[in-house]
Symmetry: C2
Subunit: 193 residues, 2 copies
DNA sequence: TTACAATTAGACAAAACGGTCTAATTTTAC
DNA sequence: GTAAAATTAGACCGTTTTGTCTAATTGTAA
């Protein structure tokens, strides 16, 4: 049967709160309330807020990179087309989310990544997972002659990552998908053969 | 003679603290201590922390965009060369700063831009100032035939903005200029004729 | 000089913060 | 069934948070 509360539930609720509202802006009590868990159970599972967000980043990174891989491994025979499709879906998802937060890793990384080594490292690990998933598809696109080979697949994946995440930053205050759409158009214009 | 304390001093100290440590991670008391101002004076100048950061964003946006304009209006006759030089200096500055914070507007925007309309709007205004300063030089580069005219100057400036700020995000957790350098190389490869 | 306004100064307050603690309950292992 | 371990529950604690308040001081304008 198991006990009443479930760690994974708490993590998912916490992810959603922190992703949309920020690390320091969300208190433990808020997470307790949202997940219906008492404080004792929370601190039984996690020794600190820092440990909680580390676990959240790891869970999010796993799920997110798996989601990316799923989207990049469809039956579409063109790697470039799959890559384009992925970014369109990502942009659509952010619009559907009303530009509320973008990516948890980005939110946390920007807020505390530089000032907290444990969180910073967890964020970096997460980013690398996402970038790696993209790089694999980029490489296939290069092999298929669809994407420029002037740069390595990893360099291109990092370029894509920086660009879309920079667009997220503008998106958050403009609350518009225009910047992401323009980024999409221009970037694929630049990197395709 | 004037009174003992000076608003602009307090703003500059606050900017530096918030830029490197984040909005919620820096308390009023920290700003008071750093600028040697008592609480009564602070709240005499600013009605709230929110009002303070709004003033800080405005001051920072003014100074930063003026700094950009200065760097983009040298005696170098090539707009493209001036633009390249500006981004090299910007990247160098972030390295010299030990990747501590990047841009105040970006830091605050990512942390609270979506959850606080007053701060979000101030951040957006600041971003627009910076992008506009870059766009003017991009346009000159287009007129000189150095930069692609497939996109408007504003679109290209926004693209540059998103890219370098996305690189900042990676920079913060990797504490390395590698991502910015690669972004620089690739972007100018893409946008030049 | 005098009257008024702005600034200075920091004690104080209410609320929120992360985290601790003890006791009751539930599950697991033997 | 029984003992040990894990989980649940929330009252409680010390600290820190933003913001208020009153009184003294300083500057300004008549």
């Amino acid at each position: 049967m198991g006990y009443k509360h479930n760690i994974e539930d708490v993590i998912q609720r916490g992810i959603e709160l922190v992703r949309t509202q920020g690390y320091h802006n969300v208190g433990i009590n808020q997470i307790l309330k949202a997940s219906g868990i008492p404080k004792g159970s929370f601190y039984n599972f996690f020794p600190s807020k820092e440990a909680f967000i580390k676990a959240a980043l790891e869970s999010y990174g796993r799920d997110y990179s798996a989601w990316i891989r799923g989207l990049l491994q469809t039956e579409d025979p063109s790697p470039l087309s799959r890559l384009r499709s992925f970014y369109r879906i990502l942009i659509d998802a952010n619009e559907a989310d009303e530009y509320a937060g973008g990516c948890l890793i980005n939110t946390v990384s920007n807020e505390v990544g530089r000032n907290n080594d444990i969180i910073g490292e967890a964020a970096d690990n997460g980013f690398q997972k996402l970038i790696q998933a993209v790089a694999e598809c980029v490489e296939l696109g290069q092999q298929a002659g669809e994407i420029t080979t002037n740069y390595t697949a990893l360099e291109l994946a990092e370029y894509l990552h920086a660009g879309i995440y920079g667009s997220f930053s503008r998106m958050k205050v403009t609350r518009s998908r225009a910047y992401m759409d323009r980024w999409y158009q221009m970037t694929f214009d630049f990197i395709t053969n």
